[in-house]
Amino acid sequence: MTATENIKIEKPTKGASIPAKEGIKKAILGILKKALETESLDAIMIPVKVPETESYAWVLLKDTVLLENANPLPPVMTIQGGKVLSDLTKHGKINKNIAVILRPCETRAAVELFKLKQLHFENISLISIDCPGAIPLSEYLAEPEKNEKSFGNILDKWDKDDSVRAICKTCYRFSLPTLTNTPASDLHIGLSGNTKDDVLLIPITSKGEKLLEKLDLKPDSSLKKWEIKINEIKKIKSQRRKKFNQDFKTEISGPEKFTAVFDGCINCHNCQSVCPICYCQQCYFDSATTKLSSEDYFRRAKDRGALRFPLDTILFHLGRMSHMALSCVSCGACEDACPMSISVSQVFSLVGEQTQQAFNYTPGINRGETLPLQDYLEDEFCEVETPSECEPTNSNEVKENV
């Protein structure tokens, strides 16, 4: 990221209002079409429906015709967009202007991967979009059309949608904060706008502003209503989340319960391979490093009377946690991918939230923020040291980011 690219402009108070009588999808696609035609953008990375399966695939498209089947906010999250952006940009710069449209959780994943040097934003316009949630992949694929429809008129749903994934029901980061020095996205699409019939294009960085200019869209309508609405929903969902966490924690915490959760795990490591934050070349836990010699296994079986295989199931999940919890954006990709329908995402999201609070860190909302483990304060966390000899300095109150 070069300095000029991601400078924050004043907290946006106005956005460009786009009529959306025929649905937000058409409205947004219209804009994108225009952007391609006017060559304000050279290409767009966006989910496109695959006719055969009715599922969605990410496509980097230049051809406006293909936009027909595109969907800026599909009912499902097939592959985490952050991961996709990493695939696109990790291996070198691009000299074309490319826009990518991501859900908030995907945007935040992208920002974490940016901090981890797994992607760059050069010539990339990141457009984030308010997100009411996504339908569980398996359920969607059972009856694509029905779900497509039910997802169609999202504007009424928001907090009331039962068809979306559990993790989405309690997601209070369904929109993005617009006020940080180095914000996550360049342009934000505010749904649930002033009226039911328009969406807001909110410029967040100078890059976003330029894009609007090129499309000669004037950011002239107020964000008030949108902000109020967003905050209402946020309040509701935060409370829901709090409630859920309490119940869920009692449900899964403690060694016995916790291991019970993963009893069904078949060690397929799908959760890891779809996780945007699991960016390692080769997962430590797939490598031989953690394995023992057969003779060892046998001796240990003898010592303990029995040895269950594969042994490192719990190690895998805890280990993965220790690697990505601080950056977990609660996108739920892992749960969609789990063949044993273990509530992986809730577990990780719970741990993620609590550790992130301890480090006073919110992943993915600020490109400039340093990753907690790449930094330190001389005087902190003395409460974790025993015998502790000082007052806790790092009080675990959450800094309110949204």
């Binding site: 915490s253 060694p255 330190y376 005087d379 902190e380 974790v384």
Partner: protein
């Protein structure tokens, strides 16, 4: 509380402060409970989560990480990073109630033989109070 429960505790000691502190405890013939096995590392910051977790996986009833006091690190700031990584592990265990008391970080300097003895013995007692690690029982592996 099981009186004749002999816990298995792994202690990662940094070479410059804590390991020297342990030696001093020995030279002063301070009595230490025989439940802790020392694994020497050059700096507490060498210890990564996998070492700790595998220790638990293989049935450690407790894991102790000991290094130089903040500001004393032989490598200037290693122990600051060590403390952060440790904090993360600790918070993970806390958030899931995985008996976080089984994981302990203590600063012990080369002159603190007495402190070393106190830390280790206290830790051993605590672990005995909690009892054997659930990860020891094979069904929990």
């Amino acid at each position: 509380m099981d009186k004749d429960f002999k816990p298995n505790i792994v202690g990662f000691l940094c070479n410059w402060c804590s390991y020297a502190g342990a030696d001093l405890a020995g030279s002063n013939k301070l009595e230490i409970k025989p439940f802790l096995s020392v694994v020497k590392v050059m700096c507490s910051s060498r210890v990564n989560s996998n070492l700790v977790l595998t220790s638990f996986l293989w049935g450690a009833d407790g894991v102790l990480i000991a290094g130089c006091h903040p500001g004393d690190c032989h490598y200037e700031k290693g122990n600051y990073y060590a403390r952060r990584r440790f904090a993360l592990l600790k918070k993970i265990m806390e958030s899931l109630n995985l008996e976080p008391q089984r994981l302990q970080l203590s600063w012990v300097s080369a002159s603190e033989g007495k402190r070393y003895a106190e830390v280790v013995n206290k830790f051993a007692e605590d672990i005995i109070k909690i009892g054997p690690s659930p990860f020891r029982k094979n069904q929990n592996l």
